[in-house]
Structures are given as C-alpha cells and as structure tokens.
C-alpha cells in the first residue's frame, strides 16, 4: 500500500509523484496520486476505464501542466510547462490514441521532431531511412521506411509509433495501452525490446487492460481506482484475481473471459448476410461466410490477417474485386456506406478515432447515425439528448452528461460511445471490429452483455477480433482467417484458446 517506499539504498527513484491531483472543470480526474518508478523496472498500471491512468501519465509527460502536488525526477522537484519540457527531461510517452502523422512516411514518423541533419543543415534522408529501417526491424517490422504511414494497418502504425519513443533515448518511457492493436508475436517482440531497454536502466510504465500481459512483463504493478492509487506492489505478490478485485473494489466478478467455449451454431436459423468467395484484390481471397439471424459469428486472426478488410468490404467501404456479398439472398452492390446503413448494416471499426468526433458533444456523436429517424429535415436536439442519455445509462458511460465533449471521455468510454451509435434502431447486421479493445474487465462485460442481448433480439452479428478471449466469450461459430484466407471453421462443439491460436 505504501507507494512512497523507496528502494532503501538512499538513491532517489527515477520518478516520483506525491499527492498529485488534477481536475477538469471542477471534476476531479485523479486525487492525491502517489507513484514511484525506479530505474531498471517495468511498472504495470491497471484500472478500470476512467480510473485516471492516462491522466496521471499525462501529468508526467507534461501534457497536463496544471495540477496540484509534486513530481520529482531523480529526486529533483520538477514542474514541466509543456510536453517539450518533459521530452527534454528524458520522458517519452506513447499515447493511447494513435498519434502518428498519416501523411508522412514511416521513417519521418520514427524521427518526428528530431530528424538527423547533414553537415549542411538539410535533412539527412539517407540516414533517416536507413536508421528507421534498422529501428523498426528490431520490433520485427520488415517494411519500406519510405511508405506513407496512413496506408499501413493500425497494428503496424502502433509499432512505428512505439519505435519513435522506445529508441528516442528517453530514460522514462510511458506506454499507454501499447499492445491493443498488436498480434501475439508482435507483443512478444515488443516485450523483448522492453526487457532490453530495462536492462539499460530505463524505467518503463506499461498501461494495459490485458492483465496477463501486465503480470508477465511487469516488475511491480500499481492499481488505480476512481482516480486514486489503491495499491502498488511487486508483481510477484499479485495474481490476476487480486488485481481485478483491487480494480473494481470488491471480490472478483463472476464471469471470466473465455479460455474455452461451447459453440452453438444452428444451421436452421435464416442466413441474413453472406459473403461468397469474396476477395479485395490485395489480401482477402475466396472468403465465404454466412451470418445468421440471432447468431454471433466470430472471425479470429492475428492483426493483418484480413479481418479489417473483410469488415470494410461488408460495410461498402472498400470495393470487392471478386465474389459477392448477399443480403437476405440479394446480391449487394454498395455505392457508399450510406447505402449499407440504409439497408440495415451497421459497423463499428477497431480504431475509435475513425468513428468519433472528438470535438463534438457526446449526443451528436450518438445521434449522427439516426438523425433521419428523429426527423427527416430538421434537428431535434432534445430528442437527440434523450436518446443519448438512455445509452449513457445502458452502457454505463462515465461522463458528466450528454453535452460533454467526446474527447474528454476516457479511452474505454469513447469506445462505448462508438457502439452506442448503432443501438437506437436495431440493425439487421452488426459488424464489430475489435469491440472490446481498450476496455477494462467491467466494461468488457457490459459490452459483451449488450452484444449478446442484441443477438437474442435477432440481429446477425459479425465480431472480428485478434483477442481470442473476446471471440470465445461471444461467438456461436468461429471462422479463423490466416493471411486473407479462411484457415478453419468451428461450428459446434467445445473449442479451446489453443485451437484458435494454432489455427491462426
């Protein structure tokens, strides 16, 4: 419980927060947070959505400059005035939201803000590209560093962003949910790199909702609840259950995320949507899939296996090069996502910024998908707010009201808003890409409960995820994708996590 406890030897810790509080417009986000990071340790940070993890770390990284309390780096009290100050003090942070620049090249993103120069003072392109290639290769990426960032899948972008901070020479490295878009092999390579950096004496903060990962990589773990630190202990003393109960403040909750599942595919249910030998001309080849009313079809695969493309093709976002998509027996030819929506298809993409308007209030974020149902021509803000409020209550979105700006919500709560958008009018087909990414245990349960309720109401649901637990907990049948083709299908019987992993 004593986060102040020092290593004993009299050497001041690398970083120390004591009694740090930060509020937004009078509402406390974190209260009297104590936190100690020692040199040469990886420090796990866990807590429910909105618990204050990101806020505390943003104080350290100089993003929030207006806080109460004290921060010491290497024993010296500091007060940063900007993220730049923090950077200069050797603190680097990878934020929860991807903050790569899509129009720049991979190499430029790796060296963002600190390009090596030639003797003439011009940017040394050859060196940038060569160095970038070497750095990202240590995270296992074999891509051309001159490629445009925006053209790459989210997982790869996340790795590039990580390499920007990991190899920046920062002594204190904060990673806010760095693995949310990574496949298991990528996570493993990241961990190898983290261990190497730790051995060089850096301190690393690792925020994640994947508690197994946290236990595996961390030397110590701090748990946040409602803006306060509730415990800070060596990881060896902790178990997953112990972490969960400190996070939620009561005994472990009943449901555990699936390690195995009993599939219940029922061929007598009517097929609502069907992909017939679909290909996108790049990655996807010959993918066939049937979505049935009242069933959840899970598509599992590592990042980059084609699930992202499959979801977009089904929503009319990317054109098909081969095969057809049928809705209730009729071949579809989409002209736009508006077409797909009109026909009763709803889609929640894996990356929330793709779906959300950060500078707009929550209610506008939710109502955008249903404005025409409220009134064909005019806006009825009160009706919009009322609808938003019911979703806020249903999904237990942690907010100060319907008019709060979306960007002010915690990451997991933003994800809930993205889902809420489609829940007012039941769609025929609901396509969910990584629906539980970035959510804490409790929120995952809420979302899983809601998805199951929708299924029971007869919606045909397609869940695409690279988290086996999510797929196992939700799916009635499972298709495993590998490199754009269907590797295996499981329709009934008991299936284990190992089955999925080995099929992918």
């Amino acid at each position: 419980m004593n986060a102040q406890a020092k290593g004993g030897g009299g050497v001041p810790p690398l970083l120390e927060l004591s009694g740090v509080s930060k509020s937004f417009g009078g509402v406390a986000a974190i209260t009297e947070v104590d936190f100690v990071l020692s040199a040469g340790e990886i420090h796990g940070l866990v807590g429910e959505n909105g618990a204050g993890k990101s806020t505390s770390m943003k104080v350290i990284a100089g993003v929030h400059t207006d806080y109460e309390g004290e921060m010491r780096v290497g024993g010296k009290t500091v007060r940063f005035r900007s993220a730049r100050d923090a950077l200069d003090a050797g603190i680097g942070m990878v934020h929860q939201e991807l903050s790569t620049v899509p129009d720049l090249s991979v190499a430029e993103n790796v060296f963002l803000g600190k390009q090596p120069l030639t003797r003439l003072g011009t940017i040394d392109w050859r060196r940038i590209n060569r160095e970038a290639k070497r750095l990202i290769a240590s995270l296992g990426l074999d891509i051309d560093p001159t490629m445009t960032m925006g053209a790459l899948p989210v997982g790869i972008q996340q790795l590039v962003e990580l390499s920007r901070v990991l190899f920046s020479g920062a002594r204190i490295i904060i990673l806010d949910e760095p693995t949310s878009a990574l496949s298991p092999p990528e996570v493993k390579r990241l961990f190898d790199v983290l261990r190497k950096i730790r051995a060089e004496g850096c301190g690393i903060v690792f925020i994640s909702h994947f508690l197994d990962d946290v236990l595996e990589i961390s030397d110590s773990v701090t748990v946040f609840r409602n803006g306060r630190t509730v415990t800070s202990e060596p990881a060896a003393n902790l178990s997953k259950d112990a972490m969960i109960s400190s996070m939620i403040g009561r005994g472990s909750i009943g449901m555990h995320m699936g390690e195995s599942a009993e599939l219940a595919g029922d061929d007598s249910r009517p097929v609502v949507m069907e992909a017939d030998a679909v290909g996108d001309g790049k990655l996807l080849r010959d993918v066939s899939l049937k979505l049935r009313a009242g069933e959840i079809t899970g598509v599992y695969g590592f990042m980059g296996c084609g699930q992202i493309e499959l979801a977009r093709a089904a929503f009319g976002k990317i054109p098909l090069q081969a095969g057809r998509i049928l809705l209730e027996g009729q071949a579809l030819s989409f002209h736009s996502t508006a077409d797909a929506k009109r026909r009763g298809i709803a889609f929640v993409p894996e990356n929330r910024s793709m779906m959300l308007f950060r500078n707009e209030p929550i209610y506008k974020n939710i109502s955008i998908a249903i404005l025409e149902r409220i009134h064909r021509v005019l806006l009825k803000p009160d009706a919009e707010r009322a609808i938003a409020q019911t979703h806020i209550d249903d999904l237990q979105i942690k907010t100060q009201g319907t008019d709060m700006e979306l960007g002010a919500l915690s990451g997991g709560n933003q994800q809930k808003v993205a889902l809420a958008k489609w829940l007012t009018d039941l769609p025929k087909v609901l396509i969910l890409s990584e629906p539980t990414r970035g959510m804490d245990v409790g929120a995952k349960e809420d979302v899983i409960r809601i998805i199951k309720k929708l299924r029971d109401l007869g919606v045909a649901i397609l869940v695409l995820s690279s988290e086996p637990e999510t797929i196992l907990t939700l799916a009635d049948r499972i298709t495993v994708l590998r490199k754009g083709v269907v590797a295996r299908e499981f329709n009934s019987g008991r299936i284990y996590k190992a089955d999925l992993l080995s099929a992918a």
Binding site: V63, H64, K317, T337, K341, F357, N359, I368, L378, L379
Partner: protein, 335 residues
Amino acid sequence: MQDEEAGKAGGLKAVLTGQLRNIAPVFTLLVLLIFFSAASPSFLTADNFMNILSQVSITAIIAVGLTFVILTAEIDLSVAAIANAVGISLAYFTLQPEYVNIANLPLPGVIAIVLTLATAVAFGMVTAFGVTYIGIPSFIMTLAMMQIANGVSALLVRGQIAYNYPDLITTLGTESVFGVRWTIIVAVLFLAGGHFVLKYTRYGRYIYMTGGNREAAEYSGVNVKLIIGSVLVIGAVCSGIAGMLAVAYFGSAQQNQFDTYLLDAIAAVVVGGTSLFGGRGGIGNTIVGLLVLGVLNNGLDHIQIDSFLKILIRGLILLSALVINVYAQRLREKS
C-alpha cells in the same frame, strides 16, 4: 490541453481560449469601429452604415456559399470567376443596345434568369464531379474552374461591355425599398437561410460532421461525397446569384470585374473565425467577418490614406486573422 488548463483561475481562461475563434473577430470589429469613429466624423452616421452594408452585400451572398464549402474542409477558389461568368451569361441572354457588339441570344426575362441559374448549377456540378467522383483536391479543381469560368466570360464578351439585364434583376441590383437596397435584403435573406440550414437541419449537421471528421462521418453512414458535392453546387449557385445582382449593381458586365471578390469572400469567412480545417464556425462568424471587412474598407476611405497602403493594411488584417484561425484550431486539437 490548454482549453482545460484554466484550473484555479476558475475556468474563465478556458472559456476564452475555447471561444477564441468567436471572440477575436468581434473584438477586431469593435476596435475598428471605435478607431474609425474617433478618426473621422463622417464615419459614424446612419447613411454611412447603409453604405457599408450595401458595399458588402454582394460579397455576403458569395460568402454564404463559401461558408458551406469551408465548413466541410474544402475550398472554392472559383467563386469570383463563376460570379463573373454567370453575370455575363445573364447579359448574353438579354437583348443589348445596338452599339454593344457582342454575340447574344436574347430571351424573355424569366427564361434568361432560369437559364443563367442553370449555368451556375452546371459550373457547380462540374466542380462537384471533379472533386468527389474523380477525386481531384478542391483546391486544384476550383483553380481549374476559375480558369474555365474566366474563359467562358472572355468568349462571351470578347472584350466588350454589356449593359442590359432582365427587369427583375435590374430592380434587385439597383433599387431600394423603404430606403434599403434590395441587394442588402437579398444578402440578409441568404445569410438567414444559410444560418437556418446549417444550424437547424439534418443536412447542416452532416456538413459540420463531415468537416469535423470525414472518415467518422463516412463510418456513421453519412454520404460524404453527396455532402461535399452539394456544398460545391451551393457555392456555385450563391456565386452565380451574386454575379447576376452585381452586374446590375455595377451597371455593366465585363471581364475581370469581380477580381477582388475572391479574396474578400474568403477573407470574410476566415476573418469571421470559421475554421479552414472544417467543422467549426458558421454564418454568424461570416457576418462578423463581412462587417470587419466592410468597416475596414469603408473606414480607410474616410481617413485620407494612401490607397496603396490600404491594400497592405488589408493584407495584414487577413494575415492576423489566419494566424488566429490556425492558432485556435491548434488549441482545440491539443484538448
């Protein structure tokens, strides 16, 4: 994050920075009003006030369409050229005096007006097609359209000047009702209509959301191509109507007579605080921007000043508005 960083100061600073794009233009307007009133006795009179309104009325109509376009994070550089071409088309469809030696195709007034409007729509459709269907950035596409519209103007007038327009347009362009010029009334109607559409209709919401985050709008099932295409057509139609009224207002239709309107219209929208990055601002901002511009142009006439210096001052004011615009955007993005 600065938006939220007010903390102990009680949130006032937060409100101010958050509203920077709305407050700065109003503040500029007040400063200009006070300055010119003090500097020249002839400035602060009812007559002069009407003068200012009438001077900005044509720009206002163009600026309404441009506000729509800029809110979706696109730009239309062809507005003035289209106004010119459409104004000249109107003359082309109207019988001209003997001594005006241009090809023309005289038609009854109403038909002439309808055909001229159709010309404006056609210009807008071409732009919309290029931007949404082919995927040419609007900055480039409308630059090309500017040339094309100028080409149409040149071909129709061939260096001549036309003087006659349908009666309805002549009335609207030159006469007053209860002492208020029709152009002012039309401009006010356009501003009011634009405001209503943007703030109170579903279409308006889609415009803001498309500008705020195009990808998210698309994933929410908004037909963003339709939205962008339509605002470009609206932009062209507003310019066209402004062009028709303007040729009557000027009393002549000729090549290159709208050259200052492109900069004025863009300046009005941006000085008013509508974000060049889309999704923020609106007609309210544009009205303030128009008044700033109107007061500035008019006021500089009242305080004997080198007319070349005038141009420089306008440039500086525009530059500072741009700086505020981009700065306000950056503050938002940090939050």
